[in-house]
Symmetry: C2
Subunit: 240 residues, 2 copies
């Protein structure tokens, strides 16, 4: 289905523009991404709901609504200053059971850029299952999506799963902590691993630290701490 | 010297607010930072020019001008929504000769957040000398300063130094490249090292790649590339 929309006042355009708002995303069970790279990844993940584009996209399933829009309309739908020709509305991700032997647990990571970068890195090093605690920022935040470079479409991202269940299933819980008792370099990779990264300001929460089998530090000097996405990447690389 | 300033229209306040602009910073040879943590680091580096604060700061050298300002004035001077009580005007950093045996070279890193995160990581892993190519973004950009967490005050940051000179002095040049011929894990740390990170979109430039002794890749899967600050951190950790 292909339709033209030329007015920024069109009701559908107004609805889609509102997907910048987390509440509306939850209500509508939809989010939006920008650019052809993201569209490709959304297509592979079978999550495309509809597409708003300057030029007709030829290799899109015909049942997916395709709206040919003007630059003004695209600008209204876009959250960047330079929209890349297409805005794609997607269904929210499905949560699947954890099945890989390397799991990443993010404990209240609150910065959207950090979250996106962590997801991009997780995918690169084979952490295909990612658990987000309740107070993590949203994976559908536009900054997160951009920093993730589409990684969210290839990961299994699960919300607020109880870590003690994984522990009971033989996973070792390794929490990163500035003052952790063991240096990362002394730790070898467990057979089944949950790697925990904490909040930017407060680190990993007390309840998770209690559950952890090891508290791991990355040895640094001259500065108080590393950025959480950096610390996480170094640990994921070590345990890849 | 302590003076009060209550008006946002005060000429000095207007001048300092303009330091958000790169051209003005260059002209005035000054930049500004926010918050007490940054002020502490600026003090240690002996770079404090003047201070604008809500409450008198007791342990500041008496020759440094201290301006007691209202919240409205501080807001005007600040680039964040929640100024942290103090804005500190600093002299630009001095460039010193390269003397450490681990040097980081940033080839047109253009994102301010990436640059700041890289500088924070460089300090943490003992890369005390950092060379910036001509087209890197500014270290005085407010996002860079924030992401660096004050690391700029402890590093020696040099602009546009010719790498062939370091090579002639016995440094090995290792450039990171997505399609590099050697995996990072196969490379051992040279005695004298220049680690090169490239631009977010284009990687390391051809001229620097030609100069490089090795082109190093970080093995990843399922995604095209890592964020430059992430790739850099993994390499710096490996060669720390």
């Amino acid at each position: 289905m292909i339709k033209e929309i030329k007015s920024r006042q069109n009701e559908l355009v107004k609805e889609v523009a509102k997907l910048s708002d987390a509440k509306i995303r939850k209500q509508q069970k939809l989010f939006k991404v920008e650019g052809f790279h993201m569209l490709e990844m959304a297509k592979e993940a079978n999550l495309v709901h509809s597409v708003f584009t300057l030029k007709q996209i030829k290799d899109l399933e015909s049942k997916i609504p395709q709206y040919l829009v003007s630059e003004e309309v695209l600008e209204k739908l876009s959250s960047t200053k330079t929209p890349q020709g297409v805005v794609c509305v997607c269904h929210l991700l499905n949560e699947k059971p954890i099945k890989s032997d390397k799991v990443l647990y993010l404990d209240d990571v609150s910065d959207p850029g950090n979250l996106g970068t962590i997801l991009r890195t997780a995918l690169a090093f084979g952490y295909d299952d990612v658990i987000l605690s309740k107070n993590c920022c949203s994976i559908y935040n536009e900054k997160t999506l951009q920093a993730s470079q589409g990684a969210i479409f290839k990961l299994n991202i699960v919300t607020d799963l109880d870590l003690s269940k994984l522990k009971a299933n033989g996973y070792q819980i390794l929490a990163t902590e500035i003052k952790g008792s063991i240096s990362l370099e002394e730790v070898s990779k467990p057979e089944k691993l949950v790697l925990v990264l904490g909040n930017e300001a407060h680190g990993v929460s007390e309840s998770i630290l209690k559950l952890a089998d090891k508290r791991i530090r990355i040895d640094i000097k001259n500065i108080e701490s590393l950025n959480v996405a950096i610390a996480g990447a170094i640990a994921m690389f070590k345990f890849k």
